[in-house]
């Protein structure tokens, strides 16, 4: 085994270790949420994942962005077959270990090149959309700072990786043509052959240098990118799959009935209930928690996974009627805030244990009441999300906290509640007048 193989093994090991550690950390954070049972209907769940995540069905609602995204997605998945070869070559010191496949290998390498070029092109177009065309959903206030930088870094990363791959291919072809040792004649080079003039007049040693440098840059870049994921919105390339699998399968209009409320209301309405009965001990031993959500640990783990899965594309916000008419609410910001707060809360928990309070909360420190009350619950955001994220359920849970724990609804809504309670209608009409329409002309 040569030194270079050892270095490769070491890089691979370190990259895997840190990535694994971060994945465990994210999983731990997600599990800080409340439990919710999504173990039912596994067939439907697999189908949803196949259709929405694998099949990108909701991406193409917007044809331009959808098409470009599919290019990058397909390119990314297929080019990763090449990474397998690179890893094997790196581990055992071979060069183009799959070359024995002959014509099929040439076909594969040729398609990788075309895909790499298309990915590169798509990423450049994406950068233009973000930075030159300034499409509204990419330049809104919540995108200032890190989110904007994050988005551009991802695109630059991909452009650089694809360029390194194509340059490596070109150098390899040049070496094959020159009959250099070690460089077997294999593959096809529909794109990188255009780069051949670059190597005219160079010595074999120089071209080998370029080829090796690109090879190392490409694979180390991929490992670095892998480790960038857990810190970035780009984590969606992994989480989109579990996120769609565990997404809500009920009709969008069906809001959950809170079980904790159900038992109390049932007891209240049961004429045989003993008002002085001591609460049943055994099963109620655990703290029932607060009604609704004030902080991230009041949300359930699916909602928290949603936050880590969000790639901040802003389709939700650009369809939101409140946002489109200038209100403060942005469903994307709800998800970004949830993730930011969860990261902060998770760090605090790591240092101080699970019950540690840090004096902050998702409500007020991140999401304001004005945002929450602007929602019309129209489900445009959940419909628009390409990976079935549900910002509405978070808004509803936070409203529940405001109303049931703090009695902090806007005055007009409190009046509405009183009317429903007293008259059985949201307006102040006496219940006895309910059938009056029957006798009116």
């Amino acid at each position: 085994m040569e030194v270079s193989n050892l270095i490769f093994v070491l890089c691979l090991g370190i990259a895997s270790f840190f990535f694994g550690r971060n994945v465990i950390k994210v999983r731990r954070n997600i599990m800080l949420g409340r439990d919710i049972d999504r173990s039912d209907r596994s067939r439907d769940r697999w189908m949803t994942m196949a259709r929405v995540a694998l099949g990108q069905s909701k991406m193409v609602v917007r044809p331009v962005a959808g098409f470009l995204h599919i290019l990058v997605y397909v390119g990314f998945v297929i080019i990763n077959i090449e990474v397998l070869e690179i890893v094997i070559d790196g581990l055992i010191g071979t060069h183009r270990v799959f070359a024995f496949m002959g014509a099929f290998y040439s076909f594969l390498i040729g398609s990788f090149e075309i895909l790499a070029f298309l990915v590169l092109l798509a990423c450049v177009l994406f950068m233009i959309r973000r930075n030159v065309l300034q499409i509204k959903r990419f330049v809104m206030q919540e995108m200032d700072g890190w989110p904007k930088l994050d988005a551009n870094l991802i695109l630059i990363f991909e452009v650089v990786l694809m360029s390194a791959f194509l340059l490596m291919q070109g150098a390899d072809l040049a070496l094959q043509n020159l009959g250099a040792d070690h460089y077997v004649k294999a593959g096809s080079f529909p794109i990188s052959s255009l780069l051949l003039p670059l190597f005219d007049g160079m010595s074999i040693e120089a071209i080998v240098m370029i080829e090796r440098a690109c090879w190392w840059f490409h694979i180390l870049g991929i490992l670095a990118f892998l480790n960038y994921l857990p810190y970035s919105k780009h984590f969606h390339i992994i989480l989109a799959f579990p996120n769609t699998y565990y997404s809500n399968l009920e009709p969008k209009g069906a809001f959950t009935n809170m079980a904790s409320v159900k038992s109390e209301v049932q007891m209240m309405m049961d004429p045989n209930a003993d008002p002085y009965a001591a609460p049943a001990e055994a099963e109620d031993a655990e703290d029932p928690g607060r009604f609704g959500a004030k902080d991230v640990n009041d949300l359930n783990w699916v909602q928290l996974m949603n936050a880590y899965s969000c790639t901040e594309c802003g389709r939700c916000t650009s369809e939101c009627p409140a946002n489109q008419t200038g209100k403060l609410l942005s469903p994307r910001k709800i998800m970004m805030d949830t993730r930011d707060r969860l990261e902060e809360f998770g760090t605090h928990v790591s240092a101080n244990g699970k019950d540690g309070e840090d004096g902050k909360s998702l409500l007020d420190d991140y999401i304001t009441r004005e945002e929450l009350w602007a929602c019309t619950s129209c489900n445009a955001c959940t419909q628009a999300c390409p990976i079935n994220i549900d910002p509405l359920s978070i808004i509803l849970d936070m409203r529940r906290y405001l109303v049931m724990e703090e009695s902090a609804a806007p005055t007009e809504l409190n009046m509405m509640f009183t009317n429903v309670e007293n008259n059985g209608a949201p307006w102040q009409f006496p219940a006895v007048d309910r059938l009056n329409w029957k006798d009116e002309a």
């Binding site: 019309t376 049931m404 509405m416 209608a425 949201p426 307006w427 007048d433 329409w437």
Partner: protein, 254 residues
């Protein structure tokens, strides 16, 4: 319902009128139009009358789960006592709540929106619809969120409009991408938050852009919001906002 029960009869369907349909002057017209159609067909239906109470939808969307479940369980108790099986309602909010949120609380019914019932009556040949005043007129349909996205009912109202021999024109944002009227999520009962524009104005502008003769709705709240929007734009002479039940009733001279 109580009268029918006393006579030992069961209706074919319970018409859930809803609070808007019972109390709001504009929405009462929708209720009456729908009842006229049912009476015209001798369709055996009943209403709960004073025994009906708010479905709990606005309370739930505003975050008051206690109040919602109290309303729901009281309504379920009444309906189960009458052995209600099938419900039709002109309000998509009641429709959604009773259909999707009552079952878990003990209320299992076959729930329909009035446009679905009317559609099935046409399919069965019981109801025939002529164009009347609407023949050849340009009608656009505003999808109620709780009928459309929430329950994926997009076609029944559109088929009814086509039955009127009218020209159905779609707004840019329609069906699953339909734009809210601004009333959902209990917004109907409060002032909107600060912004550049009210949601119903934005939607009305979109509707007026395609210059329809009528804006058709299937929800009493959408109806109010769109009517207000049209008035705000001073177009109430040119563009009428009507529920599809009202259109069918007037087309049949009922």
């Amino acid at each position: 319902m109580a009268e029918m029960m006393a006579k030992g009869e069961q209706p074919d369907v319970l018409f859930w009128v809803g609070c808007a349909g019972s109390f709001d002057d504009r929405a009462k017209k929708i209720t009456k139009a729908f009842v006229k159609i049912l009476n015209h067909l001798d369709y055996k239906f009943a209403v709960l009358g004073t025994e009906e109470s708010c479905s709990g939808d606005p309370a739930k969307r505003a975050g008051n789960e206690f109040l919602f479940q109290m309303q729901a369980m009281a309504n379920i108790e009444v309906m189960n006592a009458y052995e209600v099986k099938k419900i039709v309602t002109t309000c998509p909010h009641c429709f959604n709540t009773i259909k999707n949120e009552y079952p878990e609380l003990g209320g299992l019914y076959d729930v329909m929106h009035h446009t679905q019932l009317l559609q099935s009556l046409i399919d069965e040949g019981r109801l025939t619809v002529e164009g009347g005043d609407y023949k050849g007129k340009k009608i656009t349909f505003h999808d109620p969120c709780y009928l459309g996205r929430a329950n994926e009912v997009y076609e029944a109202p559109r088929t009814l409009i086509n039955n009127l021999d009218a020209e159905l024109v779609e707004m840019k944002r329609c069906k699953s991408r339909g734009f809210c009227c601004g009333a959902g999520g209990a917004q109907m009962f409060k002032e909107p938050e600060k912004g550049q524009k009210d949601v119903n104005i934005e939607r009305t502008e979109e509707a007026l852009k395609i210059q329809p003769d009528f804006i058709a709705t299937g929800c009493p709240f959408c109806n109010t919001m769109m009517t207000d929007g049209v008035k705000n734009k001073e177009k109430e002479e040119e563009v009428k906002v009507l529920d599809i039940a009202e259109m069918i009733a007037t087309a049949k001279d009922l």
